[in-house]
Symmetry: C2
Subunit: 158 residues, 2 copies
């Protein structure tokens, strides 16, 4: 880390404002044959910045107490939080410090998925379908793979 | 206004975080024959949002105590602040509440232009050239109209 740790700790309200602008709560449901149901639920929280602002990603990591700073694409970096334990920290943070834009609606759906995963519901067919529906309400495009796959359609016709 | 005024006043630190993500400090130098020197300096502060978050623009307007919410493009709205008196409020706000990303560098250049305009320096050839140089260091593309115009090049050869 180094230099970026010398800087003042970011204020939590600042973090919420920045995430209202730049943060992304995202759930994907991906085909993965090695999983019991053939699908993997992958929730993720991300903040992308140009590499010139990489240091602010480390400062965010410090306040949120989780995540890794990795390359996003080209000259863009991201703070990426995956894994249920760390995502529980994210949910707790934004439950305590309320988002102010409609990003809050996405967060609420995201928090619902995390809560279901805490109960292991993503490992049941019913829960997986429910999560796929919630994910399709969030960041629109990508997330319908599960719901629109012919396999899923076949299964639901059973 | 109406409903959006019912909401809680935005925290100033939140505003700084949001502007670090979404705000834009911008100075253009535009050809305008009716101006004494033939060029107009137009500094502007802007926050653009999808219309679904129009209400947050009104809440920002309330905290910053200036600006107008107008259509940006298509389904996007913006809080736009123009005019030296209101821009002085913006400069004062972000001098008191420090930006945390490299957007601060842009802000510092912006503040320098506003300070020069307060002294009327944009109305002198020397000041105008100085402002055009500063503007060219900010949001890169558009701002070089003045410095690259054949007219300006002719003048500086005098």
């Amino acid at each position: 880390m180094g230099a970026e740790n010398q800087q003042e700790r970011l204020d939590k309200k600042w973090v919420v404002g920045f995430v209202d602008g730049e943060g992304c709560f995202h759930v994907s449901v991906n085909k993965m044959d090695c999983m019991k149901l053939g699908w993997q639920v992958l929730p993720e929280f991300r903040i992308v910045q140009h590499e010139r602002d990489e240091s602010v990603l480390y400062r965010l990591k410090e306040v949120l107490d989780c995540g890794n700073v990795v390359v996003n694409h080209g000259d863009r970096k991201e703070l990426r939080v995956r894994g249920i334990e760390d995502l529980n920290k994210i949910v707790k943070f934004f439950e305590a410090h309320e988002l102010q834009t409609t990003k809050k609606d996405n967060f609420n759906l995201f928090a619902k998925v995390i809560s279901m995963m805490n109960k292991g519901q993503h490992l049941t067919e019913h829960g997986l379908k429910e999560i796929a529906k919630i994910a399709s309400l969030m960041n629109r495009q990508v997330r319908r793979k599960y719901l629109e796959s012919s396999e899923t359609i076949r299964q639901t016709r059973k």
